[in-house]
Symmetry: C2
Subunit: 415 residues, 2 copies
C-alpha cells in the first residue's frame, strides 16, 4: 500500500524550495508545464483511452464518460489554464497589515502559502492540471487523490507536469499523485493531519460529505448549491423570466444553477404563465405547491423534499409566499448557503433580502450563474466554498493562502 | 438527554434578531450583562462553592482547583471584560471590498457573523462570560459546553447573562449552555453540522485533539505551544538571557511560554553559563544535548521526546546547532506552529528566520509571551489559532466573522 506518510514527508521537504522561488521562476515553470502537456498529448490521450475503455466496460453513465474523456482540444485548454495562472499576480509575501505597539514592537502580517494542500476529486482529469497550477502559483505543495476511474489519465498528466518541474530545476515533489486506488488509502489521506494543512474535496455531494465526516485535516467544503430565485411583488416580470431562464437552463449540472423559484402570491397569476412559456422551450419540469397549480394546472405537485433538492436537471421547484419575510425564511431553511437572488424594483426589499439571506452570494436582479471565480474577476477558481470558515463563495488564489505575523523587537519582554 | 437539535434550532431562530441589533443595542446589552454579573455575585459564588466542594472530593489538583475557583474579584474581572468588549468597535456590516465587473455587476464583500459558534472548554468559569461577550459583539449566537466540574458555576453565570439579555429585549437564546454533562452529548455536539458554523475548543491538548478527531463541524484549533528561542551566533547575549528568562518563567502554564532553547555552537560556552545563572533563580530544570552538557555538566540529558514536549513547567530543553539552517530545520520539525523567536543582531539571519520558520508568530529579539490578542492590540481574544485555515495566531473579534458577497445587477444573465 502507498506510504502516505512518506508522501507527506516529501511534501514537507519541498516547502523551503517552493518558498525560495521568485514570481518569475514560478511563472516560467507554469509555462513549461503547459508546453509539456501539449507535447505529451499523445501519451496522455493513450492513457485516457485506457480509462475510457475500462469505464465503458463498467457501464459508466454518458455524463460521467464525457467528464472523463480527453481530446486534443481539452488538453490544449488545460495548458491554456496554466498559462492564465502564470499571468495572474503573485500575492505571496505581500504585507497585509502593519502596526506598531506602544512598547515599540512592530508587527507585520504577511501572506504565506497554506503549506500542503490535499485535493480529493472525481474522474475529471482536467482538475489535475488546474489544481496543480493554482496550488503551485500560491507556493503550496499539493497531493492529489483523483477518482480511480481516471488513474491512467492522471498519471500521464502528472508525469508531464513533474517532467516540466524537473526541467526547471524545481523539486518534482511539489506535485504528488496518490496512485493507489484502494479506498482505505483515501480514508488514511483524510487523517494525514501531521502533513496536510487543508483538504479540498471537489465533486459530488456524496464525496464532499464523506470527506467532511472522515477528515481530521481542516476541510474547505465546496460545492452543493440549492440556489433560489425569489420573484418579489415589485419585480420586473420580464427581467425575472430572463434571469430564471438563464439560471435554470444555461447549464444544468452546475452548483450555481437555480433549482427553486419562490414567487410572491401577488404576481403569481401574471408571472407564472410567462415563465412556463419560456421554460417550455427547454422542457423544464415544474413542481409547485397548491397555489402554483391553481395557475398552472399541469404542474407536478411539489413534495416537501423537492424544496431541499439540488436537481442538476431540467426540473424546477416552485413555492408561493405572501411576503418578503416568508420568502427569506423559506430560502434560509432550504438553501445550501451558496447563491440566492431577489428580482425586484424595490430597493428596500432588495436590501433586506441581501442582508437577511444567509448565503455566500446574494444577488439583486442578476442570475445566480455568476457565482464563479472567473465571473468575479479572480482569474482562477479552485472551488466555491459553502462554509463560512476561511473562505466563502468563489475561491481564487488568495483563498489558497494563510498569513503569519512577523514581529520586530529590540529586546522587549512581557511585564 | 439534552435535545441538541432543539438547541440548534433555537440558535438559528435568533439569527435575524441578532442581525437587527445596532452597535448601541449590543453595547448596552454587554454593559447590562456586566452589571447583572456583579449583582448576582452571591448566587454565582454559592454555585461555585458547590463545584469546588465536589471537585475537592474528587481530588482535583490544586492548579485545576485554582482555575475553577471564583471570588468577588474574579467576578468583577469577568464583568470588566464584558465592558471592554463593549468599548471595541463593531466590525459587522463593514464593506471589506467593492468592485465592478465589465458587465456592470457591482460586487460588495460584506463582513458578517459566522452564525452559530460552539465553544467546548474545561472547568474555567470565566470563559463562559468571555466567550459570550466576544460572540455576541460579533453578532454570533453561541452554544457553550463547559467542563462538567464547573456546571453549577456556569449555570449561574449563564442565568445572569440571559437575565440581562431578556431585560434588554434580546432573545435569551443568543446564549445557550449545554447542561448535560454526559460525554455522549459532547460527541453529538461535535456533529451538529446542520446548526453550528464553527467549533472552537479551548483547553488542554487532549481536549483539542478529541474535538479535531470527532468533529464534523469546521474547527478552529487553538492552543498548544511548543515555542522556541534560537540564540544566534550574532546574538546580544544579555538580551538573549532576558528574553529567555521572560519567555520561560514569567508564566509557565501558558501556550506562548518558551519550552525549548536552540543555541548556536559558537556562543554556547559564553552564553550557557549566563543563562543558567539567571534561570537558577527560578529553579528551572535544564535538559540538554551532549554539547550543552559539556558546558553545563549538571544539566539533565535531553531525550528525543524532550524536543517535542510542551512542559508548561519550570523545565527547558536545550539543543545545540552549528548553523542558522540547522536551527530552522530543528524548529520546523518540533514546533507546534505557534510562536518562535530568533535573538540576533544580524538582520539577514533574522529575515531568513522570519521567512522560513513556519509558525503563526515569528519574533526577532522579543519574548514569545507577546503572542496574545491584548498584546497585539486586538482588545480581546477568543484563543490562539495554530492552524492555517481561517485565522492564524491571536484571534480577536474579526476572527469571529465571515463575509458574504452581495451582488447588484440590472438583469444580467450569463452568456
Amino acid at each position: 500500500m502507498t506510504d502516505l506518510k512518506e508522501m507527506g514527508r516529501r511534501a514537507a521537504s519541498v516547502k523551503l524550495a517552493l518558498q525560495g522561488l521568485s514570481e518569475e521562476e514560478k511563472n516560467s515553470a507554469l509555462l513549461a508545464a503547459a508546453k509539456r502537456l501539449k507535447e505529451e498529448t499523445g501519451e496522455i490521450l493513450a492513457a485516457n483511452e485506457k480509462d475510457m475503455e475500462a469505464a465503458r466496460k463498467n457501464g459508466m453513465s454518458p455524463g460521467m464518460l464525457d467528464r472523463l474523456r480527453l481530446d486534443p482540444g481539452r488538453i490544449e485548454s488545460m495548458a491554456e489554464g496554466l498559462c492564465q495562472i502564470a499571468d495572474l499576480p503573485d500575492c505571496i509575501g505581500e504585507c497585509m497589515e502593519e502596526f506598531e505597539r506602544p512598547n515599540g514592537l512592530k508587527i507585520r502580517k504577511i501572506r504565506v502559502p497554506l503549506g500542503v494542500v490535499g485535493i480529493i476529486y472525481e474522474a475529471r482529469p482536467n482538475v489535475t492540471a488546474d489544481a496543480f497550477g493554482l496550488c503551485f502559483k500560491t507556493g503550496n505543495a499539493v497531493i492529489l487523490k483523483g477518482g480511480s476511474d481516471a488513474i491512467h489519465s492522471n498519471k500521464a498528466i502528472v508525469q508531464a507536469l513533474r517532467g516540466a518541474l524537473a526541467q526547471c530545476g524545481i523539486p518534482e515533489d511539489v506535485l504528488q499523485l496518490i496512485c493507489d486506488t484502494d479506498r482505505a488509502v483515501t480514508v488514511e489521506f483524510m487523517k494525514l493531519k501531521e502533513y496536510i494543512d487543508v483538504l479540498i474535496p471537489r465533486g459530488s455531494a456524496g464525496l464532499i460529505r464523506s470527506v467532511v465526516e472522515n477528515s481530521t485535516v481542516p476541510v474547505i467544503e465546496t460545492g452543493t448549491g440549492n440556489c433560489h430565485v425569489y420573484v418579489d411583488k415589485d419585480a420586473d416580470l420580464d427581467m425575472a423570466v430572463k434571469i430564471i431562464f438563464n439560471a435554470k437552463t444555461q447549464r444544468i449540472g452546475v452548483c450555481n444553477a437555480c433549482e427553486s423559484l419562490v414567487v410572491h402570491s401577488a404576481v403569481r397569476e401574471t408571472f407564472l404563465p410567462k415563465l412556463k412559456e419560456a421554460l417550455d422551450e427547454k422542457k423544464v419540469e415544474l413542481r409547485g405547491d397548491g397555489r402554483v397549480r391553481e395557475v398552472l394546472p399541469d404542474c407536478v405537485p411539489a413534495r416537501e423534499e423537492d424544496y431541499g433538492t439540488e436537481y442538476l436537471d431540467y426540473i424546477l421547484s416552485l413555492k408561493t409566499v405572501d411576503s418578503l419575510e416568508e420568502a427569506i425564511a423559506h430560502i434560509n431553511r432550504y438553501n445550501t448557503k451558496h447563491s440566492d437572488c431577489i428580482v425586484t424594483e424595490n430597493p428596500e426589499a432588495a436590501q433586506r433580502f441581501l442582508n437577511q439571506v444567509d448565503a455566500a452570494c446574494v444577488y439583486w436582479n442578476a442570475s445566480t450563474r455568476f457565482t464563479d471565480g472567473f465571473e468575479f474577476g479572480f482569474g482562477a477558481e479552485i472551488g466555491i466554498s459553502t462554509q463560512k470558515l476561511h473562505a466563502r463563495g468563489p475561491m481564487g488564489l488568495k483563498e489558497l493562502t494563510s498569513y503569519k505575523y512577523t514581529i520586530f523587537g529590540n529586546g522587549q519582554v512581557r511585564g
